[in-house]
Symmetry: D2
Subunit: 393 residues, 4 copies
C-alpha cells in the first residue's frame, strides 16, 4: 500500500465498522442442481444448528451479526426461543424470506396466480411470516417469487401483473411502521418463458405503487448477460428504493457461487456505487445479505470467504480517491479517471484488514483460524443421524 | 386456413385497417458497420429523394403513410415545402428524431454531459427539432441518446442521471399540448461500459417524472440477450407509457436487420401483447416505426418486406382465439393454451392478405410489383452524381 | 398451400417417411428445477410404464419408433424381457444414456476426475451400459458428462482434458463394430465455472481422436446465447461427425422446453441445414432424439406435441425451393434468397400432414385423439401407489 | 507483498523478461463506431507516424518491441525503408494483417465468396501480403475474415466452408517454412446472421487441415456471452494450435476496449492458463498482440496502459503457487485451491514492477513519464494538416 493509500485507509476503516453482512440460514444446508444435491458431513439438521454455524462465521470474521430465516425451512415451534438461541450465540435473527415455490399448490403461480384460493394461501403465508417477524424482531420481509410461465400463452402476462399488484398491496397493508416489504426480481428460473418480476423496472414499479416501506432487493445473479449492475445500484439509490442485496456471483445463469468469485472487479464497482450513493454507513437503508449455494465446497468456510470478499472489495472501494476522480471526470480525462478506479481496485487490502481484525480481537486469518478451531471436526462428529437440512426442509 | 380462421379473419381484417408503420428516412440512405459502408446504385442524395422512396413503399403496400425525419440528416431550407412534397407524394411527415451523437461536441455525452455548454447545445438542438415539428406537423419528438461511458470511472453514473433528468425537463417544457417526448432506451453501443438510458426501467422513470406527454420508445433490438420483450410491452402498456416501437430484428447485438427476419415468432408474440394491451387500433397511443439498416440488401424492397412482415405477424396475432385461450389459461391447461398460440402463429395469412390488398387496389404481391415497376431502374439511372445519403449527412 | 407447394409436397412426403424421433424414457417421469419437482397423476413408476407411454406417443403419431434408456434410471433385472416388452408395444429400445452425475463418487467429476478409482467406476459404468446394449440391440452409447468445476483453480482444466481423452479411449475400445460412441457437449450446468466438454469444438476434437465410430451429439439447448446452431450442424455434417440431436428448446439457459416452442424458425433452419447436409433419409447417420423436461405440462401430450413440431418443421424445410434458392444466392439477391426461405417457413403444413397421417391409418389430430382415447384417465386410475419415476430413480 | 510472494517474484521476474506484446499500427489511428469516429489532435497521418507512436510506447514500457501492420492501411512504396524506419526507432515490424472487408468487391464475402473473381482478388491480396512480409521480415500472416451473411438463406453456409477451405489452402501453399498462417475467429460483426469462422472449433478445423504452420488467433472479444476463454486457451495449447492472441476487453459485444479494463480477473485467468500450457517464455509459439479501439481516450497512453495491464496480470499469474495448487486440487479442497488462485490475483504487483522497470532503465511510472515527456504536445503541434489515419486509410 502506498502512503497515500494508508492515509485513505484511516478514513476507510471508520466506515468499514458499519459493514454487516447477513447470512442466509439455508447456505448452511445442502444445495445443488436439478441433477444432484451432494451432502456434506456435519451439515445442520435443524434451524438451531444452522444458526450455530452462522454464529461461527461471525465469531471468526466480526462481519455477520445477523441470520436470515427462510419460512417454512426454518419453522420452529417457538420463535422466541430461536431468537434467544441466536442471541446467546452472538447473532440476531434478520430478514424473513417467504417461500411460495415448494408447495404443490404453487405449480402455476402464487401471488400472481389466477386461482383465488392459491393466492389466498400465498398471502396467508406472508401474514404468517409477519407474525414470525413480530417475535423474531425482524425488520424485512423479503419476497422472491418463482411465479411465471414456461410457454407462450400459458397465462396472461398482463393480468398477472395486476393480480400480483393486488396481492402485494394486501400484504403491504400489514407491514408494520418499522418493517419493510422487500421485493426481489429475477430474470428466469424456475420459470423459463416469462417471470412475473423479471427486472428491476418491474420491481420498482410495484414497490413505488405500494409505498415508502416497500423497497427492492437486488440479487447480483439475477440479470441478463451484459447487464451493468452498478448502474441499477446507482439508479435505485437515486430513487430511494434500494432496500437490500442478495450477494453471490455467476459465470452463466443464476449460479449462486461465492460472491466475488466470478468477477471481483464487478463486485468492487457495485460497492463503489453503493458508497457513492450513500448506501453504506449508519442510517443507510441498504441491507447486505448473501444468497449462495455451496454445492460442492464446504459451507462454513464458504460463507467466511464470502464475507471476507465483500469486506475486501468494500475496503478497496473506500480507498477510491474521489476528489481526484471528480477532477479527472470533469476534464474528460478518460484514462486518468479510469486509472484512479483501477488503482483502488489493484490495492492489496489483505494486510490492513488482517491488522484491522487483530485490533478487534478477531483472527488475522479467519479461514485458517476456522480450520484450526476444530469446529468442523466437532460438527461432523456430533451431527450424526437425522435429516440434513436442504431446500426441501 | 381453416373455416374458423376465415371467420376470425373478418374481424381481424377490420382491425388491420388501422395498421400503419412509419418509415425512417435514413433507411433509404446507406448504412453499414464500423468496418465498411457499402453503397448501392440509386441511393437518395436528398431528403426529397428519401421521401420519394418511402412514398413508393407506401404505394405498393398501403401500410406506410408517414415518414420519420432525422435532424440534421434531413435538414432542408424549407420544411413547409418538404411537407408539401411529401403530401404530394401521398405520405405525411412523422416523428422527428434528434441527433446528439455526431457533433464533435458530443464526444463525452450530450444531455447527460457534465459540460453546461455541451448540454445547452444539445437542448437547443431539441428546441430546433420542435420548431421543425411545428412546421412539419409532427407529433412526436424522439430522443435516442448515445450518452454513456466506455470505462469504469470515466464519469459519474449517478450525477449523469440527475443531469439527464434536468435536460429532459427543460425540453419537455416546450413540448406542445398535442406533442409527445418519446424516450428510447438501449443497452449499449456506441457506449461500451454504461449507457445513460440502458433499459425500459430507466426510460420509464424519466418519462414518469416528466409527465403525461412523455412516453417510452421500445426498439426491439436494444435489449440484453434473453430479455422477454413482450413482457416489457405488456408492462409499459399497463403503465400507460408505451409510446412507440422501433422495429427491427437481431441475432446478436443491435443488428438492425429487417423486422421479423431473425425471430418471426418473437415479433408475433410482441404484436399479440400489443393487441392484448389495447395498443393497436383507433385511439391507440402506440406508434409503429421501423429502424433498420439495409447494409447489403436493397433498401426499398427491404422496407417493403419489413412492413409486410409486420402486417403478416399482426394478422396472425389477430387470429388468436382469445376466448379459447382465456379458458385454457384458467384451467392451467398449459399445452392447450400454448397450442392456441402456436396455431395462430402457424396460420399462413399470405393468401388472405393478398386478397385484402387487391380489394384495396394494391398489388397482391408488393415485392413483385415493385420489381416490375421499373422504379429501381429509374432511380439508378437518374440518381447519378452527388453524395449518396448516409448517416453522416 | 400454393400449387407449387403442393407439387413440392409430393417429394417432401416421400422423405418424410424416414423421419423417426427417439423418445427419452425419462421424459415420462417427473422432472423439475432445483426449486421443486412437481408430480403429475399417472406418472410411470417403472421402465415398463415409461415404455408403454412412449409407445402411446408412437401409436398416435407414427413418428417415434424407438425409446432411449437411461442407466441406472431404467435398470431392470432382465433387459431381454424389457426389449420384448417394448417390441410387444410396437417400439424398439434405442440409445443407452449413461449417468455419471448422480453417484456421490462423482462430486468432483467422473471420466475427467483426477481420482483413478472414480474414473474406474465411471468407465465400468459405461462397460455395463455396453453390456446392456448387447441385450437391447442398441446402437448408440450416449455420453453426456456433468464433469467440470465451479471455481477457478478448483482443478486443472488442461489435465482434465487429457484424462478425459484417456477415459473415452478406454470405453471406445469396447464399442462394437456396429455401435457408436456419441459424445454430447454442454456449455454449463451443473458445473458453473468450466465444463469439460463445453462446446462442439471440444466434442469434435475428442471424437476425431477416437475414430470413425465416435460422433457428436448436438443438444439444441446447450449453447451460449447467440450461437448459430445451424452453422454447427452444417460444420459437423461436413466433417462427418454429426451423430445425433437432442432436441428441445430454450429462452434462457438449458430450459429443456418442448422443441419448437421457443423459436420455431430456429428449428426450421436447423432442419433445413440437416437436409442440406444429407442428414435426413435412408442411410443418414444422424439420429433424432428428444431430451426435454415436462416440468408443468402433461408428459405424454407434451411428447406428442414435440414430435409433431419436428415433423412440421421438417416438412416446411423440405418445401424449400432449393433450385430457386441456389440461383438467388449466386446472384447475391439477398432479399429473394431470404424470401424463399421465409416462404417455406410461412407455409402452413398442418393440413397436408393431417392428410398424410390419415393415409397411414393415424389420427389426423394426434393431440385430440390422445385426449379422446382415455389413456390418460386409465393411467391415472391404474398407477396408484409406488414411487413415481424421476431423475433420481 | 508477503515474503513468500517476494521469493516467488524472483522466479516470476525471470520469465517476465520474455513478455513481449505486439502493438497494432491501427490503434494509433482514429477508430469509432458506426455512429461516429471522433478525431484526436496528434493522430498519425502515415504508417511512419504510427510506428513512431508505437516506438514511443515501447520506449516507456520496454514491453512492445514489434508493430503489426495492416494492409492496405499501412501500404507504403518502400517496405524496406519502413522496416529501417522502425528499426531506427527501436522496434521491428511484426504480423501482417490482411484486409478483405473494405473493398466494394467484398460486399458478399471474400475467401468464402461464391464468385471466383472475388475469391481470386482476395487470394491475390494475401499473396501481396506475403510479398510484403518477405521484405518486412514478418513471420505471421494473420487472416481475420468479415465473411458471413446477414439473412438466413442469403448464401449456402456449407458450401462457403468448402470454398473457404480451398482458398486457405491456396494461400497456405505460399507460406514460407518459417512463416505461419494465423486464422482468427469471430462470432459476429460485421455479418449478423452467420460468420464463416465464428468459433475456435471452426478455426481449428481449418488450420488442422492446412498443416503445421497454420495456427489459430484468439481475440479475447470475439466470443458469445458466457464463453470460458481460458478453457479455449488450454484446449488450443493442448492441440498445439494456439498461435496468437488479439488482446482487448469487452462488456457487451466486440467492444475492443483496453485489455484488462472490463474484467481483469478474466485476463489473469487467461494468462495463468497460457503459462500452465507453456505459452509464455522462450520458444513459445504464442504471440501476444493488442487489437483495440481507442474511440474516446488518447491512443498512446491507451496503449501504454494496455501493455502494463498485460504485464501486471502476467506477473500475478506467475506468482501462482502451483505446487500448493496441485496439492489442493488433488485433495478436492475447493476453497483452498480457489483461494490460492485468488491470492495470486489479489497481489499488488505494481511496486515490484516499478522496481523491475527502474532496474532496466525504464521509467517507474510509464504513464506519468509519457505525460511528462512532451511527446503528446509535440505531435499535436507537428501533425497539422493531412488526413488522420483511420480504418479507411
Amino acid at each position: 500500500m502506498t502512503d497515500i493509500a494508508v492515509a485513505a485507509w484511516e478514513t476507510a476503516a471508520a466506515t468499514l465498522e458499519h459493514l454487516a453482512i447477513e447470512l442466509p440460514s439455508w447456505a448452511f444446508g445442502n444445495s445443488g442442481t436439478r441433477f444432484r444435491v451432494f451432502g456434506t458431513p456435519g451439515t445442520p439438521r435443524t434451524p438451531e444448528e444452522k444458526i450455530a454455524d452462522a454464529a461461527t462465521v461471525h465469531r471468526f470474521t466480526g462481519l455477520a451479526p445477523t441470520v436470515a430465516l427462510h419460512i417454512p425451512w426454518d419453522t420452529v415451534e417457538d420463535f422466541a426461543a430461536l431468537r434467544a438461541f441466536a442471541e446467546d450465540h452472538g447473532v440476531r435473527l434478520g430478514t424473513v424470506n417467504s417461500n411460495t415455490f415448494q408447495d404443490e399448490a404453487y405449480k402455476f403461480g402464487s401471488l400472481a396466480s389466477s386461482d383465488p384460493a392459491v393466492r389466498r394461501q400465498a398471502i396467508d403465508h406472508h401474514f404468517q411470516c409477519l407474525d414470525i417477524m413480530a417475535v423474531t424482531g425482524s425488520r424485512d420481509l423479503k419476497i422472491w417469487l418463482a411465479d411465471g410461465t414456461n410457454y407462450p400463452g400459458q397465462d396472461d402476462i398482463r393480468r398477472r401483473q395486476d393480480t400480483l399488484a393486488d396481492s402485494l398491496a394486501t400484504i403491504y397493508e400489514r407491514i408494520g411502521p418499522d418493517q419493510r416489504l422487500v421485493l426481489e426480481y429475477k430474470l428466469f428460473e424456475p420459470a423459463f418463458y416469462h417471470t412475473d418480476v423479471p427486472d428491476w423496472g418491474t420491481a420498482y414499479v410495484h414497490v413505488a405503487a405500494l409505498g415508502e416501506r416497500a423497497v427492492v432487493c437486488l440479487d447480483t445473479g439475477h440479470h441478463a448477460p451484459g447487464t451493468n449492475i452498478e448502474f441499477i445500484v446507482a439508479q435505485l439509490l437515486r430513487l430511494g428504493k434500494l432496500g437490500s442485496f442478495d450477494f453471490n456471483s455467476r459465470f452463466y445463469a443464476d449460479d449462486d457461487l461465492i460472491v466475488g468469485a466470478a468477477d471481483p472487479f464487478q463486485l468492487f464497482r457495485i460497492l463503489a456505487e453503493v458508497i457513492r450513493g450513500g448506501g453504506l454507513g449508519p442510517g443507510s437503508p441498504v441491507a447486505f445479505m448473501l444468497d449462495q449455494c455451496h454445492n460442492i465446497e464446504e459451507k462454513i468456510p464458504g460463507q467466511i470467504r464470502s464475507v471476507l470478499n465483500v469486506q475486501e472489495m468494500t475496503a478497496r472501494a473506500l480507498l477510491l480517491d474521489r476528489d481526484a476522480l471528480e477532477l479527472a471526470q470533469r476534464e474528460h480525462d478518460v484514462l486518468t479517471a479510469n486509472g484512479i478506479v483501477m488503482d483502488a481496485f489493484a490495492t492489496d487490502v489483505r494486510p490492513v484488514l488482517a491488522a484491522w481484525r487483530e485490533e478487534r480481537g478477531l483472527p488475522a486469518d479467519p479461514m485458517a483460524a476456522y480450520r484450526a478451531s476444530g469446529y468442523r471436526e466437532r460438527i461432523i462428529a456430533e451431527r450424526v443421524g437425522g435429516a440434513q437440512a436442504g431446500w426441501g426442509a
